[in-house]
């Protein structure tokens, strides 16, 4: 990127500076630490210069926004035309309460919905299952049948909102589609994203209702179906977020998410699909943690890496296939129960990194999420954080303003190289499914997590209020804690009972029977799942049907790794 003579001059000046300026200063004021590192452990030098990126080409490696390899973003004008989608995770107590909260957030200026489900729903268990007692509506919205989806979306125009559904497989999406059908909305008017990345679920949530390979196949069915029938829907979002929450490094986060995306791409191409048909609709979800520059560089590195994989490895020709579009959620695991107000500041820094890294959509955590589901006040503050970044800070005025920073470009290169190395190891093991089955991914993440905690304990990593600047122990938590009234759980169980009583038993039996047949025959599962949903099948009805057809997944107990 620089001419030889220019680099020579830079080197000579640096050497002189080191000798005459730096040396004496270092003697008088030694640096705070012998070695500086990013949160994930990358060494950080004192000063970066053109020498650090001398081997790079502007056109090949950085280039223009909206132009291969998309290091600077997927859209030529960045946020100058459209800001990122502001999308807060919502889901609490009951479908009724969740509907109210969604409407509140829309009124407050939120531009997309992002619905999270309670633990029973995530596990495909119904609210009335004794295993779920106490957990209904506590960490998301319970959704057992189409009825619950009807209530959640009541009064919300499905043609106008983009909806993110944090769930895997065909189940909840089928409810969303069935509801659209009931309202007479053609599927090509629906926009949104289904998380659906069973591979990341497997090793972060440790959830496997059926075997990993069957779950993988069923989620790929959804991608195949949506490409034919729901053209504007993103049928899968590869989740680096949860891997990071489990303790991975920044490079592992993007490598494992991209590893999963490679796995699905191979599966879909193996079904005879053209990569340029589905790749433009693949999406990603990443974390933004505390180390500001590392996070920005991680996002830039991921975009470049994916563009090259799509073009060079899979031969994608449609430029839209090369785009890595992603949602960011700020790091839940960075929130501290100690001095929780500080979480607003952490979230602001993380959100700023997401924006400077060019995110397409953003969730900012509420300060109270370390304790409970967000209160309305905390959720509004989290939304305001994004609005202040968008409308006050000025960072959205120019595209990728940090490009060309010697440090940012160098760290982007380093993270990309580290992620590429991890991807080579995954390929060497036979791909992501095999690497997961072997437990390799899980072990790598736990190793990284242990390393992080070792550093936290030794003080190599500082967390304010946790290992420095602590308050006395009996300090009161100065925030409102949202408590879900147990009466809400009883209400949900009662609503479910009424649905079960009213539904047409014969239609239900036929639909579930067909679902079993399709699952066993490896036919695309979505049509029969839609039929079951329309007959008001519960998630657990469908879970049971699949397990009868395919066998249950391996007991989902996770292993102890140390």
């Amino acid at each position: 990127m620089f001419k030889e003579e220019e680099l020579d001059a830079i080197r000579r000046t640096r050497e002189e500076w080191e000798l005459t300026v730096l040396g004496p200063i270092m003697e008088k004021w030694p640096e705070r630490k012998g070695e500086f590192r990013t949160q994930s452990g990358h060494p950080v030098k004192r000063v970066y210069t053109p020498e650090d990126i001398a081997g790079k080409s502007y056109v090949e490696d950085i280039s223009f926004p909206g132009w291969y390899p998309f290091t600077r973003g997927v859209f030529p004008t960045g946020y100058r035309a459209n800001l990122w989608t502001r999308r807060l995770i919502t889901g609490l107590a009951t479908p009724e309460e969740t509907n109210k909260r969604l409407k509140f957030l829309i009124e407050q200026g939120q531009t997309g919905l992002n619905i999270i489900y309670d633990n029973p729903t995530t596990n495909l268990l119904d609210s009335d299952n004794p295993l779920c007692e106490g957990e209904v509506g506590r960490d998301g919205v319970p959704t057992c049948t189409l009825r619950d989806m009807e209530v959640v979306m009541d009064g919300i125009d499905m043609r106008k909102v983009s909806t993110s559904i944090i769930h895997s497989g065909p189940f909840i999406l089928s409810m969303y589609l069935a509801l659209a059908e009931k309202r007479g909305i053609p599927f090509d008017q629906l926009r949104g994203t289904l998380q659906n990345d069973v591979l990341s679920q497997y090793y972060t949530v440790n959830m496997s209702v059926v075997s990993l390979r069957d779950g993988f196949r069923l989620s790929a069915d959804v991608v195949e179906y949506c490409r034919k029938h729901v053209p504007r829907w993103n049928p899968i979002s590869f989740v680096g977020y949860q891997i990071r929450e489990a303790g991975s490094t920044a490079a592992q986060e993007i490598a494992f998410a991209i590893g999963s995306a490679i796995g699905y791409t191979e599966e879909l191409m193996g079904r005879g699909m053209d990569v340029d048909d589905f790749a433009p609709r693949l999406s990603f979800m990443f974390n933004c943690h505390n180390d500001f520059f590392e996070e920005i560089c991680k996002l830039r590195a991921a975009r470049r890496l994916w563009a090259r994989i799509m073009r060079e490895r899979f031969g994608a020709k449609n430029p839209l296939s090369w785009l890595l579009r992603f949602h960011v959620q700020t790091a839940g695991s960075s929130l501290t129960a100690q001095q929780p107000i500080n979480n607003v500041i952490r979230t602001t820094i993380q959100a700023m990194a997401a924006v400077l890294g060019g995110t397409n959509s953003l969730h900012t955590n509420s300060m109270d999420e370390c304790y409970c589901l967000p209160s309305e006040y905390a959720a509004r503050t989290a939304l305001r954080t994004q609005q202040i970044i968008a409308y006050e800070s000025g960072v959205a005025n120019t595209v990728d303003p940090l490009a060309g920073s010697y440090f940012v470009e160098k760290l982007t290169d380093d993270i990309e190289a580290e992620a590429e190395d991890i991807l080579r190891q995954i390929d060497g093991m036979g791909g992501m499914v095999a690497a997961l089955e072997a437990g390799w991914v899980q072990r790598e993440v736990v190793k990284a997590s242990n390393e992080y905690h070792r550093k936290l304990k030794s003080g190599e990593i500082t967390v304010v209020g946790v290992n420095m600047f602590q308050d006395s122990e009996d300090e009161e938590v100065p925030i409102e804690i949202l408590r879900i009234d147990p009466a809400q759980e009883r209400h949900q169980v009662e609503m479910l009972r009424q649905v079960k009583e009213r539904r047409d038993k014969e239609a239900l039996r036929r639909a579930l029977e067909r679902m079993k047949e399709d699952a066993a025959a490896h036919c695309n599962i979505v049509p029969s799942c839609m039929e079951a949903v329309k007959a008001y099948a519960t998630l657990e009805d469908m879970r049971n049907a699949l397990q009868e057809a395919l066998g249950a997944g391996k007991e989902s107990k996770d292993a102890f790794i140390c």
Binding site: N119, P120, T122, N123, L125, L131, C132, E133, G134, E135, V136, R138, D139, T204, V205, N206, M207, E245, A246, G247, S333, T336, A337, Q338, C370, Y371, C372, L373, V446, S449, N450, H453, K457, V466, N467, Q470, E476, V477, I481, R483, I484, S556, K557, D558, A559, F560, I561, C562
Partner: protein
């Protein structure tokens, strides 16, 4: 006591998958010389009782990060209380609990609640104290 390692059953209750804390605590207890039996995720009260008996553990530690903790933990505690073989095994809990919940659990008979920022060595030494206490009790009972 000398030479016989303390046996601890660790497991995570609730239907979520947040296992980062328990993995860390498990490693710390092993590093401290204890035998850790890992019950995994989504353990039920019946499984806690069954594993405690089968594995002859000295202490049970349950990790929880579910919003349903005030239903789930008491159910585990009651199941252990109702069985003669597990009644005297101390139960401790780890996780982030909303203010007030830890006190309520301790009032019920949970021996300790370790929240965020707990020192791993402190947890190990607390468990050592609990195990020594139950060993002494056993000795007194057997006369």
């Amino acid at each position: 006591m000398e030479g016989k390692p303390i046996r601890v059953l660790l497991a995570k209750a609730g239907l979520d998958g947040h296992n980062r804390g328990i993995q860390l605590v498990g490693k710390a207890l092993r590093d401290a010389g204890m035998e850790v039996l890992y019950g995994g995720l989504r353990i039920t009260p019946e499984e806690v009782v069954e594993m405690s008996i089968q594995e002859d553990v000295d202490v049970v530690g349950i990790s929880i990060f579910s919003g349903g903790l005030m239903t789930i933990i008491p159910k585990i505690f009651q199941a252990m209380q109702q069985n003669e073989a597990t009644r005297d095994i101390p139960l401790i809990v780890g996780g982030i609990l909303p203010p007030g919940d830890a006190e309520a659990l301790k009032a019920m008979g949970i021996r300790a609640v370790f929240g965020p920022g707990s020192d791993l060595e402190e947890i190990a030494s607390f468990i050592r104290g609990l195990a020594a206490g139950s060993a002494a009790k056993e000795k007194a009972a057997s006369g």
